[in-house]
Subunit: 225 residues, 2 copies
């Protein structure tokens, strides 16, 4: 088991817990790259439907970072000997289905989906990457831990909540619903061998940590997770 | 593979011809920054509706470059002492109206609009920037002459045309129509003082050059401009 020394906050216990269930490197990268593309598409819709030009420009930075992250992951697929589109195409149905839910009913729901899902999946994939037995794992953790423009999205959400007193309960509910769907999509990336006993208990600490990070992102907006 | 001729340097004659009609620096930057945002939005719609994952990733690079260009122009507005959103908001109606036309009826029309308009407006604004009497003009020309992902867009258009024998006449017609609308939007950026005689004749050489570049972009795809 390679030990990772990095600025990431992934503990050894979590790495071991997930490493056992990590998919092969191409499946991992294909899924992560396509999820990142979905996050970009969601952000670009948020830009197109933004109520102000200031919001378009500010959120544009998050979209740019997200596309850069997607393209870095695509490069990693090539480095690992895969054909990017082919590798990603195995996961499009599942991820697109999540995306249809995550879009939400209006601009605010799309915006909080972009904020919560970018944070959640970067977090999840960084933890999963840390345990991968490949030479690329340090590079991959760096990609996922890279800047995402989360602060800018939080700022616009905060401003919207402040201006709109009824928005917070709706977005709180939306965040809880999205959490369930994100957990399902994350869990589906893990490979559970038939002979493994009590696997749920083994991955449980990791999902507890993901929920805690999600709760912190909700708290940052004053929303009850 | 379509071959694109590299963009020629702006000649002194063209600089002088346009400099006389250049708007003030903030109006110039506001318009150019918002046009660039529109190009990004068009590209991101092209990504969302792309028929293949390979197209999404490849065109993603153009979208990323376009957003980076937009944000550089926004930074220039700040440097010039303007408030970016406020400065851009004077031009949103006019540019959004162009965008509604440029979207086209399907993916191929959107894609060729993105390809043609990115090239056309980069070319036009580079020429206009070259004549600006500000310390920023060299920087601005560099921004507009920067990489735009044009080759990638041309590649996907070429592949689509090759596969689809009836597409070329439709896209040729679309390109001609778009040319007229791009000319109108470009011309509206120029300030014609009342006392100037025969201004059309003075700016004519510049527009002739813009049409020639547009024709080269169409030629690269085997389309009649």
């Amino acid at each position: 088991m390679p030990r990772l020394r990095s600025r990431s906050d992934v503990s050894a216990t979590e790495k071991i817990a997930l490493a056992e269930f990590a998919p092969d490197i191409l499946a991992f990268l294909g899924r992560a790259a396509y999820v990142q593309l979905m996050i970009f598409e969601n952000l670009s819709r948020v830009i197109s439907t933004a109520p102000t030009t200031a919001a378009k420009t500010a959120i544009g930075k998050a979209a740019e970072l997200s596309m850069a992250k997607h393209r870095k992951l695509v490069d990693e697929i090539t480095k690992a000997g895969g054909s990017p589109a082919e590798v990603m195409d195995s996961f499009t149905d599942e991820v697109d289905e999540f995306d249809r839910i995550a879009r939400g009913a209006d601009w605010y729901e799309s915006l909080i989906s972009a904020y919560l899902s970018a944070g959640f999946f970067d977090d999840f994939y960084a933890r999963l990457a840390a345990g991968l037995p490949t030479e690329s794992h340090t590079r991959l953790v760096e990609i996922f831990r890279g800047e995402s423009g989360e602060e800018v999205l939080a700022e616009f959400l905060q401003a919207a909540i402040d201006e709109n007193p009824r928005l917070d309960s709706r977005l709180a509910m939306w965040g809880r619903r999205l959490m369930g769907d994100m957990m399902l999509l994350a869990r589906s990336a893990l490979v559970f061998p038939d002979h493994t006993r009590n696997t749920e208990a083994q991955v449980e600490p990791v999902f507890t940590e993901l929920v805690a990070s999600h709760t912190r992102r909700m708290d940052a907006l004053g929303l009850t997770a």
